[in-house]
């Protein structure tokens, strides 16, 4: 089937404004008759719940953490992009639009990206009004810095905690609505099913993570803002609780999953130190401004870095990409590091690391200057590794960080299931095959503050309030299904823990569906995933019972969903016979190792319809048209 993104036609510059006018409205007196469920309280969900509550809708918001302030948006360090052009350096909405389309390797929708660039400026204004303490200069004006993939300074920041400060802004706006009585907040609740009544999303089923009860909530529309899925790799920079569960359960209820193979592997993370490791920590990309990446030329080198003479070092990024050097884009820097380690020239435990060396910068600028620029990062590095990076080179290795793919949505952020809206990282919409730095925060807040408040009315105006409530048989059916699955997990009483299986799945995914993929590795994964999944359902040991707090049970359902999702993700990677952005197929590269897109055959969004576990999913295509930006090859030589 050919999917229609329902994008406005005509000049792109006016597309969003015209669309807003064409959308139906819900009159102020009628808004409170409609109930909207918002799942997830990160930047997208928190902003959406706050804004919809403020408009007068009856909102119920849900998060698995004990507070809406703890969603993983909080961990974003660098900043948020906007086309303000405050530095007078030639930025514009068009340029932000262009950079985002190109950065995404021409695999995103033009209209969505235009809107994102257009509302980016409103976000900064909004956050300032909320009291977000952005960095300022001595004149009292907002400060900007540069980020990858752009030649202008358009990134706004609050020290190294931009995500935290933006999230606190949204959280406080949300708290204000809770106080006003327009939003009811449910913490320590995890969504375990989408309730679909007569083809439309009308509610959710949750587990109360404190009492263990399975609860039903009805709404006239459901908004998912449940983040990304890179914990499918087990080790990632995501929080421990981040999962694909909400999105995957929606997929099983008919929503299409788009481009799941587009995952971002961030090049500068602290390497794994042993099998005990539970997650990976990101080090800001800005370190590559002064650090030089190298590995020993000799394989299986045993000498300490200081004992390896200059001539026996390979500064591989400078060698391969002389014009961008150590500042090559994320996807390229990550793949290059992996190649060195695969070639047995990696450093540190298990040979999975490369050096990021600051000694040249220190002798050029002095240790104080480096401390001033990166002191907090060096300190964080020392806490984790017990190594002083002023004296010995840092060791870094790429780690799964972000998912560009997600649930398919049209221009209104509504999925193919009417009434189901998807925002932020959970949808597939604006980053194409590769996300630029400082754009994730921009998207989350754009969707939550400035898109959903308009587009949701277009749907609600067509539906009667309270069409299906929790006494509808579909709610009971959903509760029974969820309860059945949890009871089954608890009854297996096998020999391996949930973590054992998650680690196993992560290994399959990382080795075969990671930074470099081949048809062969993907087929291997497609054989191994179902095997391990079958073992999981026969041999997992989930302790405790249905009642009360049971963190093992929580992990178990998340991992169970990752097992099913992993197969779809692999299938998507196998079908996409091209390399683009974060999806690198070894077979599709130029002679000098660059990614080769196949615009002839793959300029489309691949949206998968779940047909049952033992059946092939069906692929639906949404063709992508580029009328405002010309398709071109990205090169960083």
């Amino acid at each position: 089937m050919i999917l229609d993104g329902k994008c406005p036609t005509g000049p792109i510059q006016t597309s969003w404004d015209r669309h807003c006018f064409d959308l139906k409205l819900v009159n102020p007196a009628n808004k409170r008759k409609y109930k909207v469920l918002v799942v997830g309280t990160g930047l997208a969900g928190g902003a959406a719940a706050a804004s919809l509550g403020e408009l007068g809708y009856n909102v119920e918001a849900f998060c698995y953490q004990d507070s809406a302030r703890r969603a993983h948006s909080i961990a974003a360090q660098g900043g948020i992009n906007a086309a303000k052009n405050y530095p007078n350096d030639g930025d514009s909405i068009y340029r932000l639009f262009y950079d985002t389309i190109k950065g995404g390797d021409f695999r995103a929708r033009e209209a969505d990206v235009w809107r994102l660039a257009q509302v980016s400026n409103n976000i900064i204004d909004q956050c300032v009004a909320q009291g977000v303490p952005f960095a300022r200069d001595y004149a009292g004006y907002l400060d900007n810095r540069s980020f990858g993939g752009a030649q202008v300074s358009r990134t706004f920041y609050a020290r190294g905690q931009t995500g935290q400060q933006l999230l606190l802004g949204a959280y406080q706006a949300l708290s204000r609505q809770v106080n006003a009585g327009t939003v009811k907040l449910y913490t320590r609740r995890e969504m375990l099913d989408l309730v679909v009544v007569d083809g439309e999303a009308k509610g959710i089923t949750c587990r109360n993570l404190v009492t263990g009860e399975i609860e039903s909530y009805w709404g006239d529309a459901v908004v998912l803002a449940t983040g990304g899925y890179v914990n499918v790799f087990y080790l990632s920079t995501n929080a421990m609780g981040c999962s694909v569960t909400a999105a995957w359960r929606a997929t099983k209820k008919g929503a299409y999953m788009a481009n799941p193979c587009y995952t971002q592997i961030h090049p500068t993370c602290i390497p794994q130190s042993g099998d005990h490791q539970s997650k990976l920590t990101l080090m800001s990309e800005s370190l590559r401004n002064d650090g030089r990446c190298w590995v020993p030329k000799k394989q299986s080198e045993n000498r300490k870095p200081g004992e390896i003479p200059e001539a026996e070092r390979d500064y591989y990024l400078e060698r391969k990409y002389p014009s961008f050097g150590n500042l090559a884009p994320r996807d390229i820097a990550s793949r290059a590091a992996k190649e060195q380690c695969d070639d047995n020239r990696g450093v540190g435990p298990g040979g999975r690391g490369v050096f990021l060396d600051f000694s040249d910068a220190i002798s050029r600028l002095g240790e104080d200057k480096i401390r001033e620029r990166y002191g907090n990062l060096f300190q964080m590095y020392e806490k984790i590794t017990d190594e002083n990076a002023y004296k010995v080179p840092m060791r870094i290795y790429p780690a799964p960080h972000y998912s560009m793919g997600g649930l398919w949505v049209d221009y209104n952020c509504m999925s193919n299931v009417p009434g189901l809206f998807v925002l932020g990282e959970a949808n597939f919409s604006v980053h194409g095959a590769n996300r630029l730095g400082a754009s994730a925060l921009m998207q989350g807040l754009a969707d939550g503050y400035f898109v959903i408040p308009y587009t949701i009315a277009g749907y609600l105006a067509t539906t009667k309030p309270g069409k299906a409530k929790t006494d509808h048989p579909e709610f009971k059916k959903s509760r029974d299904e969820v309860e059945g699955q949890l009871k089954k997990l608890l009854s297996i009483k096998g020999k391996k823990t949930v973590t054992d299986f998650h680690r196993g799945l992560g290994k399959i995914m990382w080795e075969n569906v990671g930074m470099a993929r081949t048809a062969e590795s993907l087929k291997t994964a497609l054989r191994e995933i179902p095997k391990l999944r079958e073992e999981f359902w026969q041999n997992v040991n989930v302790s405790g019972g249905m009642a009360g707090v049971n963190q093992q049970l929580e992990n178990a359902w998340r991992v169970a969903d990752f097992f099913e999702f992993a197969e779809l993700m692999t299938r998507d990677a196998l079908h996409r016979n091209e390399s683009c952005g974060g999806h690198f197929r070894v077979e599709y590269q130029s002679e000098d190792g660059e990614a080769m897109r196949d615009d002839q055959n793959f300029t489309y969004v691949g949206a998968w319809e779940f047909k049952g576990l033992d059946k092939e999913p069906e692929l639906h295509k949404e063709p992508l048209k580029f009328e405002n930006v010309h398709l071109a090859v990205r090169s960083y030589k």
């Binding site: 902003a47 706050a50 804004s51 953490q65 004990d66 507070s67 302030r69 703890r70 993983h72 909080i74 961990a75 303000k84 405050y86 900064i124 204004d125 909004q126 300032v128 009004a129 909320q130 009291g131 303490p133 952005f134 960095a135 300022r136 004149a139 009292g140 004006y141 907002l142 609050a158 905690q161 935290q164 400060q165 406080q172 706006a173 708290s175 204000r176 106080n179 907040l185 913490t187 929080a239 421990m240 609780g241 130190s273 042993g274 005990h276 539970s278 997650k279 990101l282 984790i384 590794t385 017990d386 503050y449 408040p453 823990t497 040991n541 302790s543 009360g548 707090v549 963190q551 093992q552």
Partner: protein, 263 residues
């Protein structure tokens, strides 16, 4: 870098309490072959994996981002909130801080306002209710002026950021002999109060938040400064002085009394 020859054996005494009604007790566990490179929570993960394999219930503890920013993790380690290292959360604490043969006591935050849920997990919704009372500026979505329309002196922006760094973990309450939430409340009052966007509602905010803090059952400040010592983000007690000053200044005059519902 092999961790094996550095591996430690530790004795843990962990607070176990199935739920709020259950009677709690310290249980003894042996943590064997602990690598110094493990984080404290990874050490607990390993203990839990063993407990599951033995058919026992694993230790319940809150955690999420494991990089010191979400504020979810919350443990008293040998009587110190977030453990022995300054300005970090439990998730950032590494086992190289301990020695082979050490005994480690692990307990939940203890405060009347943070009722226990299970083992090391407590209910911190009192913090939520304080923020919901007035921990915000009343800006609507949309219709706000350009971000540069009001200049903010750099020192004010920096001070706001120092206060806004709070992660809402509750260590300040756990560390305080009075179980006071003054540092938490003062941080938010100051973050918003020093900015022109928040100053407008400053008087109403400080009164409302302090009243809610008292209502939740937190104690008062008697200048022990344990909160500052325990704070993983290094938030200074000077914000408490600042809040007290703001509170005094906020004593309403004339028609403000009725608008604020009395004081």
């Amino acid at each position: 870098m092999s961790a094996d020859h550095n591996a430690m054996n530790l004795t843990l005494f962990v607070w176990r309490q199935k739920n709020a009604k259950d009677k709690g007790r310290l249980e003894r566990y042996e943590a064997k072959s602990v690598s110094p490179d493990m984080s404290f929570l990874e050490m607990l993960d390993i203990v839990n994996e063993d407990l599951i394999k033995q058919g026992s219930d694993p230790i319940v503890f809150d955690h999420d981002c494991r990089e010191g920013i979400c504020g979810m993790c919350s443990q008293m380690i040998n009587g110190v909130a977030h453990g022995p290292e300054a300005e970090i959360t439990v998730c950032q604490l590494h086992m190289r801080r301990f020695k082979d043969g050490d005994s480690i006591y692990i307990e939940p935050w203890r405060s009347k306002a943070f009722p226990l849920i299970s083992d090391l997990m407590v209910d911190r919704r009192a913090f939520e209710r304080i923020i919901q009372t007035y921990g915000y500026t009343s800006a609507h979505t949309g219709g706000v002026p350009d971000g540069n329309a009001t200049t903010i002196p750099k020192p004010a922006a920096e001070m706001a950021m120092d206060a806004a760094a709070c992660i809402g973990c509750g260590a300040c309450v756990a560390a305080c002999p009075n179980a006071s939430a003054m540092l938490f409340v003062a941080a938010k009052v100051s973050h918003l109060g020093v900015l022109p966007q928040g100053e407008v509602e400053g008087a109403r905010r400080v009164r409302a938040m302090v009243a809610q803090m008292d209502k939740e059952g937190f104690g008062n400040c008697t200048n022990h400064y344990e909160c500052e010592a325990a704070c993983p983000k290094g938030i200074k007690v000077t914000f408490i002085s600042r809040m007290n000053r703001e509170l005094m200044k906020s004593i309403p005059t004339g028609d403000e009394v009725s608008a604020a519902g009395g004081f």
